[in-house]
């Protein structure tokens, strides 16, 4: 189509547009000067493009228009004081969760996401994204306040979308449900094989499904809002391969690469992705793999350590390696039912606290309206009523063996809510008698010896919490003796 003439024309025209109008000076001194001029010119144009509202005095202030930054570097939690505080003291601790249990839940959640991703046939990158999202989210929110089960499902759903392999909420629910059943099988000492898993059918579409799905979708939205849409993660998978290539071990020692890869995937269960850049993590994984693989090899350490070429310090590498090694000390899988029970107790304690505060407010209001009238004070009745539902539900748990835990929980919550408002003098008296019977067993009864009739509201709340805790403890003991058997 195009003739040579046309081509020439085109090239000429292009060259014309590319030639700069200002002529180049001949002397050498002159060139230096023009360079400077050009630089100045560049600077001045650059400054023109700048937002005039940003002046040197805006240093350290928030930018005028915050930018969407999907880079995960922003999410390193070691950069500012507040995040560092958060990573050392996750927000769940404020709600009374012990540090060990918090770590346990974190591990369990990550494990579930990993296994769920495998069952959903998601690529490993999606599993990694999901786990990192999960970790980030629960460094901002408390496990007590938000159910990690919902977050796990939401993370799977979200990660599948982020990695362009979308899965339906229904699939995620099915997989999660199966994982739950499998976990229970394992916990009760059964081996996972075709024999034991034969009876596991996909869950029916029922109220439970609809509720869970709603929770999942709400949770997904909450994760996005909490993380500010910074959900796209840079994974060190590719970096490991690149670094291995640079070190020349890709072809000669693929086992090291594989091991490094494994370390990285296992490392997702720790908080290293909150603390270090992916480059650092990739280096640490190769470092550890080269030492722990069968027939270990020495990677270059003179004139400086090889990873320093990738802008990584030995301190960081060692810290990560220690964390990774510590991961393999763990023997037992976290006990899901126990975690659930503990979280439930904390949650109900929290709810009770809230209810008590509310009751107090109501009481104050009523007192204002009718001072001196004890009958209108709902708090005492409320507090004593609170006790029974928990105990009953504890019994129920034993019967149902936590099979319908979620459902049960909802029901329980509903019931307790229903009862919150009611006042029943007779019930209260019976409860009081009840408590007296059990008083000998309770080692924390000293406070109670004081005038029992004129209990203050706060104290009654205290005792109620204690009773609840004791109840839960009982439940544990029973569980540990004979683990719940699954219904098959």
């Amino acid at each position: 189509m195009t003739t040579i003439q046309e081509m020439r024309k085109l090239v000429e025209a292009k060259v014309q547009t590319m030639i700069r109008p200002n002529p180049k000076p001949k002397e050498q001194n002159g060139t230096v000067e023009t360079k400077k001029e050009e630089e100045e010119k560049f600077e001045s144009t650059y400054k023109q493009m700048e937002n005039p509202l940003i002046t040197p005095s805006s240093f350290g202030k928030r930018p005028l228009y915050s930018k969407v930054d999907i880079n995960c570097d922003k999410w390193l939690m070691t950069l500012d004081e507040e995040s560092r505080l958060k990573i050392d003291n996750p927000p769940s601790l404020a709600d009374g969760l012990s540090k060990e249990l918090e770590a346990e839940i974190r591990y369990l959640g990550c494990e579930l996401i990993q296994q769920g991703a495998i069952l959903l046939k998601l690529p490993q990158t999606a599993a990694a994204t999901g786990q990192i999202l999960f970790q980030r989210y629960f460094y901002q929110k408390s496990f007590v306040r938000y159910h990690f089960e919902h977050a796990v499902q939401a993370c799977l759903l979200l990660a599948s979308k982020i990695e362009e392999e979308p899965r339906r909420p229904r699939d995620v629910y099915n997989v999660f449900h199966r994982l739950e059943r499998l976990h229970r099988l394992q916990q009760s000492g059964h081996e996972i094989n075709k024999e034991t898993t034969r009876g596991l059918a996909p869950p029916k579409i029922d109220v439970n499904y609809i509720n869970t799905k709603q929770h999942m979708i709400n949770s997904e939205r909450r994760i996005l809002a909490t993380l500010g849409f910074v959900v796209h993660v840079k994974h060190p998978h590719r970096l490991i391969v690149a670094y291995g290539h640079t070190l020349g071990i890709n072809e000669s020692r693929p086992d090291i690469l594989q091991k490094a890869w494994n370390y990285m995937n296992d490392g997702l269960r720790t908080d290293i992705f909150m603390r270090y850049k992916p480059e650092t993590i990739a280096c640490a994984c190769i470092f550890l793999a080269a030492r722990t693989v069968e027939d270990p090899i020495a990677l270059p350490s003179t004139p400086f350590h090889w990873f320093e070429a990738f802008d990584t310090s030995d301190r960081d590498v060692e810290a990560i390696a220690h964390q990774l090694v510590a991961l393999y000390v763990r023997r037992r899988f976290p006990n899901w039912p126990r975690i659930k029970a503990e979280l439930d107790s904390l949650r109900s304690a929290k709810n009770a606290e809230k209810a008590a505060i509310k009751a107090k407010e109501v009481a104050e209001k009523l007192e204002k309206m009718a001072p001196g009238d004890e009958k209108t004070d709902p708090s005492s009745g409320n507090a004593s009523r609170k006790e029974s539902p928990v105990r009953k539900s504890g019994e129920k748990d034993r019967r149902i063996l936590g099979d319908r835990d979620k459902k049960d929980k909802d029901r329980r919550r509903k019931r307790s809510n229903e009862r919150d408002g009611k006042l029943d003098r007779r019930d209260r008296d019976r409860d009081r008698g009840d408590r007296g019977d059990r008083g000998d067993r309770n080692d924390r009864r000293k406070d109670d010896k004081k005038d029992r009739r004129k209990r203050s509201r706060s104290r009654s709340r205290d005792r109620k919490d204690k009773n609840r805790n004791r109840d839960v403890g009982k439940r544990y003991r029973r569980e540990s003796i004979s683990p719940p058997r699954s219904r098959r």
Partner: protein
């Protein structure tokens, strides 16, 4: 001190305060009373400053997601299946923005993946010819039914006009230079997209915005998705949905059901937009897919193996060609050139061009008398090639000789924008040709129906979507 840049000031003040504090603590006799009394005021100042810094660092917390209350909604400027778009003003800075609401209701699959893609892609794409995503912000809805539900808004920089609005207004007079500059911007933006491995999949005049500075910007990435480059044609690639692109701008391969398309579908859209610059209305306005194919055949020549060797491999080829009232009529000639020639030639030195129907615009004096824009025609012909393999890539199109010939494209069309005092919304009022352009063909009202609807719209309302 205030004129100094802050880092230096911070350093200075911190060291200063340290020495001062140590002096006070030790209460050294050598210092006496004079230094303390002398530096009393500055010391306070320094401490105050340090406190301020402390506060500043405390406030700078991750993560950033602002509340939508930082923006003041002014008016609604768009409505469609994708959601609503509002014009808004930033309360703290007064900057104009466009808020695009992410629809969450009836979302069975959770958060829409398209919105996730949009955020991710727009973050990667920082380019003058692509719409600028400023941030994502959230708003808690207060309605009791949807309690505890957050609504998300994408915050874009505000653009005054959209191309559909501009083109449908006969008072907007565009010279060849304006057209060339805008097409250049369009193709540059598209090239950036394709180089970033993203398909736009919804090229149309309504999705092309023009800022007040006269810079054209591609917008609405609601259908866009990243793609994988086909390196080895033997490897089967992931199939995409073929139910994309507004019908009028849909290329023949999509109409024939291709699901392994590539960047060339956007190039066809760019060709349609380019032709629209002269015709002032969408060149092929089919109401069904069959009708659209007929229109394409009528304008660009019949579709057969001669012009497009792979056309028989299309999934719908057999179904379409065996139809009694076939949408693939044979023996049609390619009349694109002859149909558009007079339009494009008229945009010559005589000044009475189609885009200047009243002859009030300045004639293009600097052009030679016998000026014929054959290069523009050639580019358009190649963009609207039936065979996707014969269409140029955006990269090739950007280097077309047309852009290197007189008149050379300018940096922007500021001068054109200056002649338009009002914003685009008035242009979109009751403009039949551009009203009711749905996003998907299945949601799109029939054009004749749209015509009727738009005629019924009272003045002062606009129904077109700019995003």
């Amino acid at each position: 001190m205030s004129s100094q840049p802050y880092p230096a000031a911070l350093h200075q003040s911190s060291t200063q305060s340290r020495t001062l504090i140590s002096q006070n603590g030790q209460n050294t006799p050598t210092g006496g009373g004079t230094p303390n009394s002398g530096t009393g005021a500055p010391e306070l100042d320094v401490r105050q400053q340090l406190l301020n810094y402390q506060k500043m660092f405390d406030q700078a917390a991750y993560p950033f997601i602002n509340d939508a209350s930082a923006y003041e909604k002014l008016s609604k400027i768009g409505q469609g299946t994708f959601g609503e778009v509002f014009k808004a003003r930033c309360k703290s800075t007064g900057r104009m923005v466009a808020l695009k609401k992410i629809l969450m209701a009836n979302e069975k699959e959770g958060f829409p993946i398209t919105a996730l893609r949009e955020v991710k892609m727009l973050e990667q794409l920082k380019h003058p010819n692509i719409i600028d995503l400023i941030e994502v912000c959230s708003a808690k809805s207060s309605a009791p039914a949807t309690k505890d539900r957050t609504t998300f808004y994408l915050v874009f920089s505000f653009c005054e006009h959209d191309l559909a609005g501009l083109l449908s207004n006969p008072k907007v007079r565009m010279s060849l230079l304006h057209i060339k500059t805008m097409i250049k911007h369009l193709i540059t933006g598209l090239n950036k997209l394709h180089r970033s491995k993203i398909l736009h999949r919804d090229m149309k005049a309504a999705n092309v915005l023009i800022s007040r500075e006269g810079v054209l910007k591609l917008a609405d990435f609601g259908l866009a998705r990243p793609f994988v480059q086909r390196e080895n044609s033997n490897v089967p690639r992931a199939l995409y949905t073929n139910r994309v692109v507004t019908l009028w701008y849909r290329p023949p391969e999509l109409l024939l059901g291709d699901r392994s398309y590539g960047t060339k579908i956007d190039v066809w859209g760019a060709g349609c937009i380019m032709a629209e610059m002269w015709t002032r209305q969408p060149i092929m306005q089919g109401d069904t897919e069959q009708r659209q194919l007929q229109l394409i055949s009528a304008l660009c020549g019949s579709i057969n193996q001669e012009v497009w060797p792979n056309c028989v491999k299309m999934p719908l080829w057999n179904a379409m060609s065996s139809d009694t009232n076939t949408p693939l009529p044979q023996g049609k000639k390619r009349v694109l050139r002859s149909k558009l020639r007079h339009l494009m030639r008229l945009d010559g030195p005589d000044g009475r061009s189609q885009s200047d129907p009243y002859g009030k615009g300045k004639p293009n004096e600097h052009l030679p008398a016998d000026f014929k824009d054959d290069d523009a025609m050639n580019l358009l012909e190649s963009l609207l090639a039936i065979d996707p393999d014969k269409r140029p890539t955006a990269d090739e199109a950007e280097d077309d000789i047309w852009f290197y010939k007189e008149p050379l494209p300018k940096a922007n069309v500021q001068d054109l924008m200056d002649t338009i005092p009002t914003s685009q919304f008035e242009y979109t009022v009751g403009k039949g040709a551009h009203a009711g352009r749905g996003r998907h063909h299945n949601n799109q009202p029939r054009p004749n129906q749209a015509q009727r609807q738009s005629n019924a719209i009272p003045a002062g309302q606009y129904r077109d979507t700019i995003f």
